[in-house]
Structures are given as C-alpha cells and as structure tokens.
Symmetry: C2
Subunit: 507 residues, 2 copies
C-alpha cells in the first residue's frame, strides 16, 4: 500500500471472520453481505476518519474465490481495504475446531469437566503446531508483505482468541515501528485456568500477547487477570506494583479495559421496525397479562441456561403465588451444534424444561417455553416486553443481551444479572445481581424482581437505560484507537528525544 499522508496512521484490523462475506453471482461477480458484529458497526465512522485495512480469513468457497482474485494486494470494498487469507482447509480445521474452539474458548470460560476433559493428546499438539501456530504466522506474513512499503504510522488491532501469536510473529517481521494492540472479546481468567495447557503452549500464548504494545480487555478484572497470569507463569514478567502494566524483556505492555457495547441507534431503529412491531403484538396477546421472565442466548454452556431453569423451578416451588401468573421464555440461538458438548447441553435444557412443564403446567398455562431459532426481530420484540430479563452466565466477556434489553425495554423491566458477566461492572449497581452457581439466590432475585414496587423498577430501568445510551460501540472502538494514537505519538516523542540536542525533559 502506498503512503498518502505521512502523519495520518493506517489502521489495520485483523480478525478471523471478516466484515463482509461473499456469495458468487451467476455473472461471475460477487454479492457482498455485511456482518453484524460490533467491529463492523464501528467501522463506518472509523473509515471516514482513517484509512482502514482489514485482514481476515476466507471462510466460504466464494470468499476463497474472491481472495484468489485479489491475492496480490488489498482491494477497496465498501470503504475499507480488504485482504483475505486463504489457508489450507485442513490446517484451518485444526486451528479453529481443535484449538480456538473448543480448547481456548472452554479454558477462558472455565467450562471443562476437568476429571475427563480436555485431554491434550497427539492431535491437540498437531493442531497447535500445524494449525494455530501456522495460521497465526500466515496472518503475520501477509500483513508484513502487504505493509512492506508503508510509510505511515501503523496501528494493528488483532481481534480475540484466534490470534494470540500474531503479535509475536508481526513484531519479528516488522520490529517496533508497528503499534500492535489486540482486543480480547472473551474473558481472561486468572492463572489457575491456564494450568490446563502444557507450559510450552501457555507460554507461547503469553509471550505472543506480550509482543503487543497494549492489550484490550472487556473489564478491569480481565486486564488484571492477564497481568497476574503473566506474573504467575513467566519468571521475567514484572508488574512493579501496578495492576495494569507488565515489563517483559525490556518492553512495557499495558493491559487496559475497553467494555464493548451495542450500536444504540441501530438497535433503537430496529425496535420500531414493522416486523418487530408484529412480533410484539403477537407476544403481547400470547402473554395475556402474565409477567414475562425472558432470556436470550446462544445455546452455549457458558450461558448457564440449565441453572436458570433450576432457579425458575425453585421460584415456582418457593412462591406458589407466581404459578399461572408468570411465563418464562427462553430464546435460544443454535450454536456449534456439531460439537458434542453443545448438543448434550441442548438435550439437557430441553429435558429440564419438559420436567418443569410436566410438574407445574395447567390446562391454560405453560410455565416455560423454549424457542430454538435465530430471529432478531422476535428477540427485540420480547426484550421490549419483559418484566424480568435473566442474564446469568457462568462467564461472559460482556453479554450484549443485557445492554440491548435495558435499552429497548418498555415495561421498566428488572435485570437479574450474573456477577460473572462483563456487563456486571457497568450495570451491576442497578440490576439484581446473582452468583450464577446459586440457584437458590437466583430464585430469590427472580421473586424480588417480580414483586418489586413500580417506583423502584422505574428508577432502576432509567439508570440502566442511560448507562447504555451513553456508551455505544463507537465509543468502545474510538477509545482503543485514541489510546493507540497517543501511544504512538508519545513513542515518537521519546524516540526523537535523544537526537534533539538541548531538548529538556520538562520542555
């Protein structure tokens, strides 16, 4: 890529899934579909201010065909320069289906049934070396090659747990002239969770990340856990009494929280969309005056759907006055059902729901209804209607359902929120917070929410609404870019200091 302006930086976003997906058209061209994630949302505003290069992985045959057409250089697509890598499919499978999911995901959400799984076997080691390591290296190669003649300052923003080794390989290829600042969307647990990995893999991940300049996490707790994990496992990593800085082999790395959020404007618009209104009307009728306890999740063990059902059963047992007066609706979005753990989890959920209905239902009342499917308009409609939103994950980087819910809800509904969701740190003061393992306590919180005086509901709902309204996803992304720009300019100042005779430290 050629320089356009030496002062203006180039922003390089690197992720596994790209901002667009392609489908082949009959005329030999490609149809473009824009993704829905927070980054893609933030991209619009960003691309107006900065030049953006996005490097991602081709995931479909059409993606790969598009990548082949544009393998020499990035191509301008919808305001950004796009570059897709096309790794060997077998290596990609090892990278994605053996290491990233489930191994890293399960470790970082602390989901393993430890007496039995995981077993780091020959296939895991192969997947680590020939899949995860290889693909991280490929990303670095492609980026270094693409930016070989780049004269502008470069800010590289690798996304999430797929790219832990990228900072190391990129630093190796490009040296200190590139500012590397990953953001991790999922939780970073304390040192113990990382004991599951053999030292060689664990240390590669830590050293990979410590090749960055600054690392972004969802919460202060994640950022602190990262510092602790490095101190625990790397004898030459030091925090020097801080909670957010590591010095490692002569370099200083910062660990910073940037809580992700939602696209407030877009969610508000969709909530008033025609389809959403239709769903709202239909479900209002279905509920026929009953109080609604809602949950909306991917089918995913970390979401703690099973204990949510147990808490609901406990509520109906302890407080029979709610029987017939309340309705639990669980909207479950299918996810990774090709993995045994996910399929078993769905089976257990359906079984538990069936047993609750078998025990408590009447001719006119179905205590809990599980709706499996993916329909965002329907979800938004129900988020407007809930009296109680149950968000009780075992572990969750942020949980955007909590933020969407409190933004669009029309009933001054109460948020029952796990203390282990990232959102806890922003919303916890005005929610009823629970330990996700405590089904008794969760049932008590549900009862408290269902019987809360209107005045208190209103006060809490308003506070929650305002918090989310004030910090949307653009804020999240620009805070990262601003810190990167500041780091870059302070680095530039420092670098030039020794060569400026007569320059005084206080000048």
């Amino acid at each position: 890529m050629n320089p356009t302006n030496q002062g203006d930086p180039l922003i390089v976003i690197v992720s596994h899934r790209g901002p667009f997906s392609f489908t082949a058209r009959r005329d030999g061209g490609f149809k473009l579909t824009r993704g829905a994630g927070g980054l893609v949302t933030a991209l619009g505003a960003l691309a107006q201010k900065h030049e953006v290069l996005w490097v991602a992985c081709a995931l479909s045959p059409a993606d790969r065909a598009w990548a082949k057409l544009h393998e020499a250089r990035p191509e301008r697509v919808d305001g950004v320069q796009l570059r897709l890598i096309s790794p060997n499919l077998q290596r990609h499978r090892l990278f994605y289906n053996v290491i990233a999911n489930p191994l890293l995901w399960f470790i970082q959400h602390q989901l393993w049934d430890i007496p039995r799984a995981p077993s780091i076997d020959r296939n895991t080691w192969k997947a680590w070396e020939q899949g995860y390591t290889w693909i991280n290296h490929l990303y670095a190669e492609v980026i270094a090659h693409t930016l070989a003649d780049e004269q502008r300052p470069i800010i590289v923003l690798p996304q999430d747990y797929h790219l832990y080794l990228l900072p190391f390989y990129l630093r190796e290829a490009m040296g200190e002239r590139v500012h590397i600042q990953p953001f991790l969307h999922i939780p970073w647990p304390g040192p113990d969770a990382w004991r599951i990995l053999p030292a060689q893999i664990r240390n590669s991940i830590l050293i990979g990340l410590l090749s960055a300049n600054r690392i972004g996490f969802q919460t202060d707790k994640d950022a602190f856990n990262f510092v602790q994990t490095c101190r625990f496992y790397l004898p030459d990593a030091h925090a020097r009494g801080t909670r957010d800085t590591i010095t490692y082999r002569g370099r200083t790395i910062r660990s910073t929280a940037y809580p992700i959020s939602i696209d407030v404007q877009k969610v508000e618009q969709l909530a008033e969309d025609g389809r959403t209104r239709q769903h709202r009307a239909a479900f209002s009728e279905y509920l026929s005056g009953r109080q609604l306890i809602l949950r909306v999740d991917r089918i995913e063990p970390s979401k703690n759907i099973l204990r949510g059902l147990q808490a609901y059963r406990n509520l109906l047992e302890s407080y029979p006055e709610h029987r017939g007066q309340v309705q639990m609706l669980a909207l479950l979005v299918p996810s990774r059902l090709e993995v045994d753990e996910y399929q078993d989890y769905l089976r257990d959920i359906m079984g538990e729901a069936g047993l609750i209905n078998a025990e408590f239902s009447t001719s006119t009342w179905e205590p809990v209804r599980i709706v499996v499917g993916d329909n965002y308009a329907r979800a938004l409609a129900l988020m407007q209607l809930y009296d109680v939103l149950l968000v009780n994950p075992i572990a969750d980087g942020m949980n955007l359902v909590a933020k969407e819910g409190v933004l669009v809800n029309l009933k001054n509904g109460v948020l029952v929120l796990s203390e282990h969701a990232g959102a806890f740190y922003e919303l916890g003061d005005h929610a009823l917070t629970v330990s996700p393992f405590d089904t008794y306590g969760t049932a008590e919180a549900l009862h408290q929410a269902l019987t809360m005086p209107e005045e208190e509901r209103l006060a809490r709902a308003n506070k929650l609404h305002d918090i989310v309204k004030q910090a949307d996803v653009n804020h999240w992304f620009h805070a990262q870019v601003d810190d990167a720009l500041n780091d870059l300019s302070s680095h530039a100042r420092k670098s030039s200091t020794p060569g400026t005779p007569g320059n005084k430290p206080s000048a």
Copy 2:
C-alpha cells in the same frame, strides 16, 4: 483442665477424625484403634514433649457412647487428653456430605463439571447454616468451655477443610490469648475457583481463617494463593507487597508452607515385613521380567486415573516396542463410592482399561491390570518393584504415594510426577514432570522413563530417596509447633514491652 506449668504451652489439635476410634467390648468397655494419618504418627513424639489435647468428632456409635461417658471433661487416652464432640447426626450429615465433601473438596481440587454442577440450592444453604456453621461453632464452644480455666499458653491447631470457621468462633470466645494455627491438607486454589461460592459463604470462609494467627499450607503456591484469594475478595485485606502476609482489620496473619511427609521409619519397617515380602515374591513372579508401571491411588477424580490410562494407550500406540514388555498395574483403593461422581469415575476407569486390554492384549500378556481393594502390604511390595511410578493428579495437596514410593523402591525406578501435586515442589527436580492434562506428554515421559539409562535412573532415585529420608512427618509437625511457639513468645515480648520501662529494642 488445670495448669501444670505456666510457661509450658498446651497444644490443642482439632480435627474431624480423631486419633483413635472406639469399638464397644462385651464387658462394657471400649477397644481402642489408633488411626494411620500423619498427625497421629507425629503425636507420639509430640506427646512426650508437650501436653496435648485432641478434640475430634465422634464418628461411630461406639465413639458416641465413649463421648457420652466423658462429656464433662477430656479423658487421658494413650498419652493424650481426648475430647470427642457428638453433634446431631442430621447436622453432621449436612456438614460432611453436603458442604465438606463434595462442595469444598471439589472446589479446592477444581473438579466440578461447571456447566452442570454444583448448584447451590436451598439444601446447600441449609447445609451451610445448619450443618457446617453449626458444627464449627460447636467445636469452638466445646474448646472454649474445656479451656475456660486454663492458665498456660494455648496453641490450637485446627486441621483441614472441615474447620474453616473454627478460628472465628474460637477468637470470639477466647480473644487474643489463644494462638490459632490451622493446617490445610488439601490444595488452596487461586481466586477463580472460589467464584463458585456465593459471596456470603466465600467471605465467611476467608474471614474465618483470617481469625487465625498463622495458616499452614502444603506448598508456597497454596500459601500464596490464599493471600491472593483474600486480596481478591476482601477489599480490606492487604498484602503490603509480601507474598505470605495479610493484614486484615488491624491483625496480621501469616501464610506458611509446611510440606507434609511420611513416617520414614515405620514405612521402612513395613517394607521388610513378612507379608510385604510374600507379596513381593508373588508379584515378581507375576511380572516375569516385564517392566512395571505402577500407580496407587484412592478412586478419586483428582487422581487423574483416566488420563493415566489414555497416556498408557498412547505409549503402546507410539512405541510398539513396549508391547508385551511392560505391565501397568493400578492399585485403586475404594473411596466415597456412595457419591455418584466417584462411582461414575470408577466405571469410566474400568471401561477404559477394558478397551486397552481388548485392543492390545495377547495370549500371554495383559497390558493393564486394575486391582481394586485396600491392602497396604501389597502396595508397599509393588512400590519396591516398580520401574516407573506414575503420579499424575489433576490437583493434590501433597501425594504421599510419591514419597513412599521413592523411599522403598528397590529398582532405581523413575518417578513420573504431575506438576500439580504438592510433592512436585520437593521432588520435581529429580522426577520426570508432566502436565496432568497432557496425555501425549505423559506418554512421552513414560517412554523416557522405560528407556532411561541405568546410570541416570540410579542418580535420580538416590536423590529422591535422600530428600524423603531427610524430611519425615515429625519434621512437618514440629516445624508448625516451633513457629507457633515463636509467635507466642514474640507476642508475649511485644505485649510486655510497653510495660517495661527502660527496655531497649536491641536489648
């Protein structure tokens, strides 16, 4: 109890299981059986130097009958003053079968299948309040009552995870005049593991322990994890830059490692006992020159028996030269089989062993043999005969099998040792150490052990033998008592300092 000598302290050991168990005799008297644990072993030497009071729980009908006879005051039994408490059986069941095992045990060994268990339900809360809390309080009451007129300095040594709240209640009842120093035999994991408990229970445990003066752990890592856990969850607990000291509400509490060990002399004697020799001869014949990979464990998910079998399978696959030349023997001691998790675990072990034998056995070779039963002479005989001792727990306070094995082995056998056994910190340098989750790496270690040159085997075996020989269980116990005595005398010095005019700090 009446004072005998004002300077000589009274040592009070407090535990769930006592040093003796009673059985009713026909003549109305009681037969006494001495327990086998490390504490009981250390008691002999201790009771010659100090006056010892032991407070424990009556566990059998005969224990309870004995306790009823002696409920007014402690009774001298076999050199110690013994006091048994007899709690309500229902409360004891809640204390023991709901909270101590499995909840605390599973948390501290990090064994839960987190997406499904535990569920802290109404019964858990009841067990916490009416079982665990109540019984800890009962212990404190009995101790305070027994020691009401005691004039000597008092050192109280509560044992293990059954008595976390005892220091709090005892401090409340007796104030600062009593030195309280618990020892925790099982691992203390980092802050994350404790997230499973609701804040109220977790904080009660931490504050309970922080009512002590000093807390003993198996390793420096456990001691450090305790400090970190307190800092993480209690806003007013501070470490002030140390790794082993907490200040909490104006008091200073030390966190210290005392690695437990075995009774060297007794184990050496038993290894030359007639029954042991018989087993040794029989198994030597059975092995008929094959190399022996031995493991000896309670049937317990933390012992990682399943992954040990997977590693063995992996060995036979990767290195076919060992087929027919090696024999795995797993001696499994039944444990808690009334708990589902333990029964399921044994089923899975037997299934995996069956599959390995189905795949690899020949008309003259059974690759793995599982021996379920409790026979210490047989275990000692096989420990003398192993070429490789596999000790690969997921988590283990210490693991005494590793110490017994390297003490009595006659073949310069190699120890393959998990980096998460407490014994790792003493024996790791001369063992082949493995990540217990890494079945591939464990198979490689087994191969390395089976093919290690005799000279290296000898050098390692000698080092391991010497380490265990030099630090036996008396050393472990006296180190604790010595620290307690020092704490007491420095406390006494400090207390008297203000009242001693002209006393100089350097005097």
